[in-house]
């Protein structure tokens, strides 16, 4: 135990002193920040597009476009309100906050200009960038020139001139607005009253989601009921991220240690299983530090959000209750431990066989591929937790920690819980034992990556009988 403690302590302190640790620590908030902030940043950094619209019908289509555009924006705002309500609950404060955001979809990216001469040949140099428009931002090229017309048979025709082939926002806005107008126009022409059309458009069923396990008043499912699912998937993803990052740390540190020829000195001071366990424990402490830091950050951010936007009225208490639920937290700790030990031992064994990272890449690739699978399955499990693929994958011991963790709020059967856990624990023990043996051989240079390749070629290179 003394050796395990000392090795674990040394490992922990050595990792904490590296840039890699601090980068890992910063990675989650950084990625979250990027995830939320980058799209906004990209959106806000888009250049303003100047366009000319010429309605050759005398104003009918232009008016139709403007009212259609206003309606589309209202529809989009409504969709966002519904999405936010699904996520954080039906809060009047949130609705009010959203109502007060007039530009929620109106990003002002497309600005209409009104030149005196709207003939195409006059506008062409502006479209090609040979001449620039005089705008509030200074001289700018003309993004597009749109000519709206109606054929003799009543068909609406849009001539959309632009050298930009990729930015289709304006074109779609115009097309959608006029498409709705065309349909409405046709219905009117067929004698359908405008009020009826509006009534029909507003029709939508009222959906109440109810839980049969509960009685009348409490039966309705709310956003709070969904929190445990989000939390468990979040836990599973965090576990995957931690295992992935620390397993890589283990591998590189082991290769470095082998390259520095320290292992034999260590073997003269402690047994190989003590070195293996000490290293695993040391890095587990690193992972625990990461998780604690991330967890504290998440809770702190939640509380901060609630404080800053009292208007938001987010169900922080329910989220915290779900995160700190022992029914989720304890299994999560268990899955983390077993998952970490399994992958950590494998990575340590691989590291002991390799002299350089380049050597390790060959052996790492299949392990990384295996590790990537549960990432996809977890996302599937969120929508289809009862899928046969998800259930079968739960029994693959190296995937069990991630998938079963994500499935916990769905109350899988006791047989499935005990069965998958047993297979996972037995596999972890076998992996630890096997990795210990490989580690000893690798540490003493009695095996390397070629040895592993040879194991998988057994019987494959037999000469054909002559």
């Amino acid at each position: 135990m003394r050796a395990i403690y000392l090795i674990a302590r040394r490992e922990f302190l050595s990792y904490v002193a590296t840039w890699g640790f601090w980068l890992s620590l910063a990675s989650l908030p950084l990625f979250m920040g990027l995830g939320f902030g980058l799209p906004l940043l990209i959106e806000n950094s888009q250049p303003t597009r100047y366009f000319v619209m010429v309605d050759q019908t005398g104003g009918e289509l232009e008016q139709a476009y403007l009212s259609g555009l206003a309606q589309n924006r209202e529809d989009q705002s409504e969709q966002i309100r519904e999405a936010v309500t699904d996520l954080v609950g039906d809060s009047p404060q949130i609705q009010a906050a959203l109502e007060n955001q007039p530009g929620i979809t109106d990003d002002g990216r497309y600005v209409r200009v009104y030149p005196e001469d709207t003939e195409l040949e006059q506008l062409r140099p502006y479209l090609l960038g040979d001449q620039l428009l005089d705008t509030a931002e200074g001289p700018q090229p003309l993004f597009s020139a749109v000519y709206l017309n109606k054929s003799t048979s009543g068909e609406i025709e849009i001539d959309y001139w632009s050298v930009n082939l990729t930015d289709s926002g304006l074109r779609l806005d115009i097309k959608n607005a006029l498409q709705d107008y065309m349909r409405l126009d046709r219905l009117r022409a067929e004698g359908v009253p405008v009020e009826l059309i509006e009534t029909i458009n507003a029709l939508s069923p009222t959906v109440r989601e109810l839980n049969p396990e509960r009685s009348d008043e409490t039966a309705e499912i709310t956003a709070v009921d969904r929190i445990p699912f989000f939390v468990s998937v979040g836990f599973a993803l965090a576990l995957w991220m931690v295992v992935f990052s620390v397993a890589n740390m283990l591998l590189t540190a082991m290769i470095e240690e082998k390259g520095n020829k320290i292992l034999e000195m260590m073997l003269a001071s402690s047994r190989h299983h003590e070195i293996l366990m000490g290293k695993l424990l040391g890095v587990a402490m690193v992972s625990a530090t990461l998780l604690l830091a991330w967890g504290s950050l998440a809770i702190g951010s939640g509380v901060l959000v609630q404080q800053v936007a009292a208007a938001a009225d987010m169900p922080i208490a329910e989220i915290l209750s779900a995160v700190l639920d022992p029914g989720l937290l304890l299994p999560a700790a268990g899955y983390f431990l077993v998952g970490y030990l399994t992958y950590g031992a494998i990575f340590l064994a691989i590291g002991s066989l390799c002299e350089t990272i380049h050597d390790a890449q060959t052996l790492m690739t299949p392990i990384m591929l295996i590790m990537m699978v549960p990432l996809f399955i977890i996302t599937t499990a969120f929508d289809s937790p009862d899928s046969a693929v998800v259930e079968i994958a739960s029994w693959v011991p190296v995937w069990t920690p991630f998938i079963m963790l994500a499935r916990l709020p769905l109350d899988p059967s006791m047989t499935e819980l005990i069965g998958t856990t047993s297979v996972m624990v037995v596999t972890a023990l076998l992996v630890l034992f096997g990795s210990g043996s490989v580690f000893r051989l690798g540490a003493l240079n009695h095996a390397n990556q070629d040895t592993v390749k040879a194991w998988f070629k057994i019987g494959g290179n037999k000469k054909k009988p002559e």
């Binding site: 520095n260 320290i262 000195m265």
Partner: protein
């Protein structure tokens, strides 16, 4: 207290069917410096690893402090492996404290010893420096200190002189002698005979995984045929004159017209017999040199003899 620190009895070990150590038996006695000699690939490192329990033998028995090598005995052993390395990002004293604590020394005492030993080994100025900032020789000294810091009863050094410059080799020799003078038992492997000849009370010689000699240095030297080299300007037929004293080989003719002769003495003759025979025959000697055998000669002789024997057996 037993006087035998380490004993190997009929120990063998193979890797992938290829024998590395074959039926090796020897013992290391308390307070002695034992040299474990052999050419590269003779099985020295494998034998030392088995002695520490790092590797398990396929056959035979090993006893370290009277018991099978295990964790209990490890704290009494200081091992310097052939493949040397220490944590480069740690400070010198931290490395030493770490290994001392692994061997059961408490933290405060370990720190005290680390600082004292760094001073003693002339590395006082490196306190607070990271190992990566040291020269190779200094880093090796730090590792040697890490091997000795827990004051082990038994010190095993695997090729300790390799990679050291002559000055540091001499320092290491002095250190080995000082440890033995302090009552500690030392076993070290080497293929450089000069160190063994100067340091060892006993040597064990292995080649191709087999032990070919086990005894003191004097006995090893006695295995080498004694040799006399003479140069003479003479019409005498020295080959027939000295033939009953050993094997006589005629050498080159020097620029002064003297011819050299090499006589490998038979067991019943000595250099005085050769000199007397030459004087009695009035041979005009220009040179008479009884050659003192060194361990290197004994090593080469024993290895060659073993090769002949195994060749004949084969």
């Amino acid at each position: 207290m037993s006087d035998t620190i380490l004993s190997l009895d009929g120990v063998s070990k193979s890797f992938s069917g290829k024998p590395a150590v074959r039926d090796v038996s020897f013992s290391v006695e308390r307070g002695q410096i034992t040299g474990f000699l052999g050419p590269n690939g003779a099985g020295k490192t494998t034998t030392l690893r088995m002695s520490l329990g790092i590797l398990s033998p396929d056959a035979g028995r090993i006893k370290l402090f009277g018991k099978k090598p295990g964790s209990a005995a490890m704290d009494k052993v200081g091992f310097l492996p052939e493949e040397r390395g220490i944590y480069k990002k740690m400070k010198t004293e931290e490395v030493i404290v770490f290994f001392a604590r692994l061997k059961g020394v408490d933290a405060i005492e370990a720190k005290k010893r680390a600082l004292a030993m760094l001073e003693e080994f002339g590395l006082g100025h490196t306190i607070g420096m990271k190992v990566k900032e040291l020269s190779k020789g200094m880093a090796q000294k730090v590792q040697i200190i890490s091997t000795l810091v827990h004051e082990p009863e038994f010190i095993i050094l695997d090729e300790p002189f390799s990679g050291l410059d002559p000055v540091n080799q001499k320092t290491l020799e002095q250190m080995v002698r000082a440890q033995a003078d302090a009552g500690r038992t030392v076993l070290f492997s080497t293929h450089v005979m000069e160190h063994a000849e100067r340091l060892c009370n006993k040597i064990v010689l292995v080649t191709e995984g087999r032990k070919v000699f086990d005894g003191d240095v004097t006995t090893a030297l006695s295995e080498v045929p004694r040799r006399v080299i003479i140069e003479a300007h003479s019409e005498h037929d020295l080959a027939s004159l000295l033939s009953n004293m050993g094997i006589v080989t005629e050498g080159e003719l020097s620029s002064e017209g003297n011819r050299s002769w090499k006589i490998d003495l038979a067991s019943n003759s000595d250099a005085q017999d050769v000199l007397k025979a030459c004087v009695d025959a009035t041979v005009r000697l220009a040179r008479f040199e009884p050659v003192k055998a060194h361990l290197h000669d004994a090593f080469v002789h024993l290895v060659e003899t073993h090769s002949h024997k195994t060749g004949e057996t084969a």
